[in-house]
């Protein structure tokens, strides 16, 4: 009698495996820093400002989601909600003329690097007043004059470009460093490995940061990649770090230390920041790949709520002031929606604008 063969499996399967009644988390958060803002060299104003920046990113996206659901604009909408401590902690830690490039989950990065709520919302609406003149949409926010080089839509495609920004900084000896943010899904792209190798070989002043939010679209980290992500750079002899991305102080503390070191010795770093995205990959995501309990577990560690509690507990500010900030942000976002709705769409001529820096040419254009 032929022995029954075991079925051939490839991917580790199922969201239930190994649960034992416990909540299976897709990312395990390292401990947050115990230091106070004063110990980190941040002023009271700084941390209140951090709160405002994070709250703006949150409310901007919550409102954008509503507008999307109302059918006010089309395209993709990948929300950053839950990850705001990463963008905010980083931008406070690095210099204003250091370079930032990221993937398509880019609204938070844009807002914290000078894309105004109005310019951002108008871009989502595809209006001429958007930060990229309505040519890019949700995935291509940018503010190049503020050294935010944009969001890019091909997973992993912008990683070597981040290396190139750093290359040019080193070439021009301008004392700027580059930071390149990618999702955990991009870790599996060959572009990352080619770039890490060349960055170490050529001493490029760049920090490559994986925002590990637990899911590569709908595939959890343990189902799409092997080993520990932050250990990937060991094969290239590159310095690495792993830290908590749900606490803005932890992000600030680590990114500041790393940025200072990169500026000094021009050697790259590979960093894994563990965070969590509350919403689906995009708006069409039914989120069948994770449990409600897991999501709720992470929402308990919400970075904005955490900072708010800290500000009140440490008496950095009072509830009334925070409420005023929240109201101000809410107002700002609502004004941005009005602005986007009232703004004109690009003129027809705009279709052929911005393709070329030099004399434009269009084959067979009548």
């Amino acid at each position: 009698m032929a022995k029954k063969q075991k079925e051939a499996f490839f991917t580790p399967i199922g969201i239930d495996t190994g649960q034992n009644g416990e909540i299976e988390k897709s990312v395990k958060l390292p401990e947050a820093t115990k230091k106070t803002h004063k110990q980190l060299g941040l002023s009271d104003d700084d941390v209140v400002n951090m709160f405002e920046q994070m709250y703006l990113q949150r409310r901007f996206e919550e409102r954008a989601m509503q507008m999307y659901q109302k059918g006010k604009f089309g395209g993709f909408l990948h929300l950053y909600i839950g990850q705001e401590a990463v963008s905010t902690g980083t931008v406070f830690a690095i210099n204003d003329d250091d370079d930032i490039i990221t993937a398509y989950r880019d609204h938070g990065w844009g807002l914290v690097r000078g894309v105004t709520a109005k310019e951002g919302m108008a871009e989502l609406y595809g209006k001429a007043t958007g930060c990229s003149k309505g040519k890019g949409g949700s995935m291509h926010f940018a503010k190049v004059e503020n050294h935010f080089w944009g969001g890019y839509g091909i997973v992993g495609g912008h990683i070597p470009i981040g290396g190139g920004l750093a290359f040019a900084n080193k070439y021009q000896q301008n004392n700027r460093i580059a930071t390149c943010f990618l999702g955990d899904g991009a870790v599996d792209q060959g572009a990352l490995h080619e770039t890490l190798n060349m960055s170490q070989l050529w001493s490029l002043p760049c920090i490559y940061v994986v925002e590990n939010n637990g899911y590569s679209m709908g595939t959890s980290t343990r189902r799409h990649t092997v080993g520990e992500i932050h250990e990937r750079s060991k094969g290239y002899g590159m310095k690495s770090a792993l830290f908590n991305g749900m606490d803005v102080f932890t992000v600030y503390e680590n990114m500041k230390k790393i940025a200072e070191e990169v500026r000094k010795d021009s050697m790259p770093w590979f960093v894994e920041i563990r965070t969590y995205r509350y919403r689906g990959h995009s708006m069409s995501d039914p989120q069948k790949y994770r449990t409600k309990e897991e999501l709720e577990e992470y929402q308990k560690t919400d970075p904005i709520q955490r900072l708010k509690t800290y500000l009140i507990d440490k008496k950095v500010t009072d509830k009334k002031n925070l409420e005023e900030i929240e109201n101000r942000v809410e107002e700002q976002v609502l004004e941005a929606i009005d602005f986007a709705e009232e703004s004109p769409f690009p003129e027809d001529e705009a279709l052929f604008e911005d393709m070329y820096a030099d004399e434009p040419f269009f084959h067979d254009k009548k």
């Binding site: 370079d99 490039i101 958007g130 930060c131 990229s132 003149k133 309505g134 040519k135 890019g136 291509h140 940018a142 503010k143 190049v144 004059e145 080089w149 944009g150 890019y152 091909i154 495609g157 912008h158 990683i159 070597p160 470009i161 981040g162 290396g163 190139g164 920004l165 750093a166 290359f167 040019a168 900084n169 070439y171 021009q172 580059a178 060959g190 572009a191 080619e194 770039t195 190798n197 060349m198 070989l201 050529w202 604008e353 911005d354 393709m355 070329y356 820096a357 030099d358 040419f361 269009f362 084959h363 067979d364």
Partner: protein, 327 residues
């Protein structure tokens, strides 16, 4: 006029541009210590040093992307591919990033980069080392595609390419690097991108051919002249933007046209030029436009099969005979 090899003309262009602009640098496989896989960059490392002449690992996707980022951030990279057949690995950077970043960010940045290297077949190298990519890249907006045939064109056009503020693909041929030709000694010799050149005048038939194909067209024209058929050869030099006006003007004179294209037939330069001629010069045509291209099959290794595969002067003569109703 100085007589230079094709590789020397390219080297002069790179050297002159590196000399006049600090932000120009060259990177690629074997460009520095090895002095270039085809000796194009010979001597540049000695002159400019390791900062500006950079050996890369065999990571086409990675170093093309580093070039794109460097171009955005103030430099003017010349990225050499050992062949455009290997640049397929970098196609994401060329097609999705270099040519699109400016538009999708609403004109906030420029990508002044030159990707260059040999294109198409270099003899019996098998299926993966033999493809012409000029037509494929010309499909995409946002970049120029140059495929010159002679050292003079190569020098003037490469200097233009390096100074261009957008993405330029500059294609050469392993088999033409040793080709000698007269090159202008004019100081700062520039040929504008997008201008065709009539390289042989004739009244009987127009032959459009660029790159390596120009040389077989020239052979065919010499042969045809012995039979009293005078071909006009137009070398577009630039595939994108394509100078169709020069071709149309010639066709209105000769009333017949052959397009020679080193690409496969589907949707290539030959197909596009043929379409434009039928639309814009229909009433002037005394015969349907014909094309000479590779067949729709990958490159074989075996010599007899390879010879059958590669367009040659005989194929062009046959096409000319067909449109002049002499066959």
């Amino acid at each position: 006029m100085a007589v230079l090899q094709f590789r020397e003309a390219i080297r002069e262009a790179i050297d002159e541009e590196m000399d006049r602009d600090e932000s120009v640098f060259i990177m690629g496989e074997e460009v520095a210590e090895y002095n270039g896989a085809y000796k194009v960059t010979e001597g540049l490392l000695d002159k400019y040093g390791f900062k500006r002449v950079i050996d890369t690992p065999i990571s086409e996707l990675g170093f093309a992307g580093i070039g794109v980022g460097a171009a955005m951030n103030g430099l003017r990279p010349i990225v050499e591919f050992m062949t455009f057949n290997f640049a397929v690995l970098a196609a994401d950077q060329i097609i999705n990033h270099a040519s699109k970043a400016r538009y999708m960010l609403g004109g906030q940045l420029d990508v002044p980069i030159v990707f260059r290297g040999p294109n198409a077949s270099a003899g019996q190298l098998g299926a993966t080392h033999s493809v012409a990519y000029d037509s494929m890249y010309a499909q995409f907006p946002g970049m120029s595609v140059i495929y010159p045939s002679e050292p003079d064109d190569a020098k003037g056009l490469l200097k233009s390419a390096i100074r261009n503020n957008d993405t330029v693909l500059f294609m050469e041929s392993e088999q033409m690097y040793g080709l000698k030709g007269e090159v202008s000694e004019e100081e700062d010799y520039i040929i504008p991108i997008g201008k065709a050149k009539i390289k042989r005048e004739g009244d009987d038939v127009t032959i459009v051919a660029s790159g390596k194909m120009y040389h077989i067209a020239k052979q065919a024209a010499e042969q045809l002249a012995k039979d009293g058929v005078e071909a006009e050869i137009i070398d577009p030099r630039t595939i994108k933007p394509f100078d169709i006006e020069t071709v149309i003007k010639s066709v209105k004179k000769t009333n017949r046209c052959i397009v020679v294209d080193e690409s496969h037939p589907f949707g290539g330069m030959a197909a596009e030029v043929g379409f434009l001629i039928q639309r814009d010069a229909f009433d002037y045509l005394d015969a349907p436009v014909r094309r000479v291209t590779l067949p729709d099959v990958s490159a074989p290794f075996s010599k007899p099969l390879f010879d059958l595969w590669m367009p040659n002067a005989k194929d062009i003569i046959q096409a000319v005979n067909a449109v002049t109703y002499r066959s």
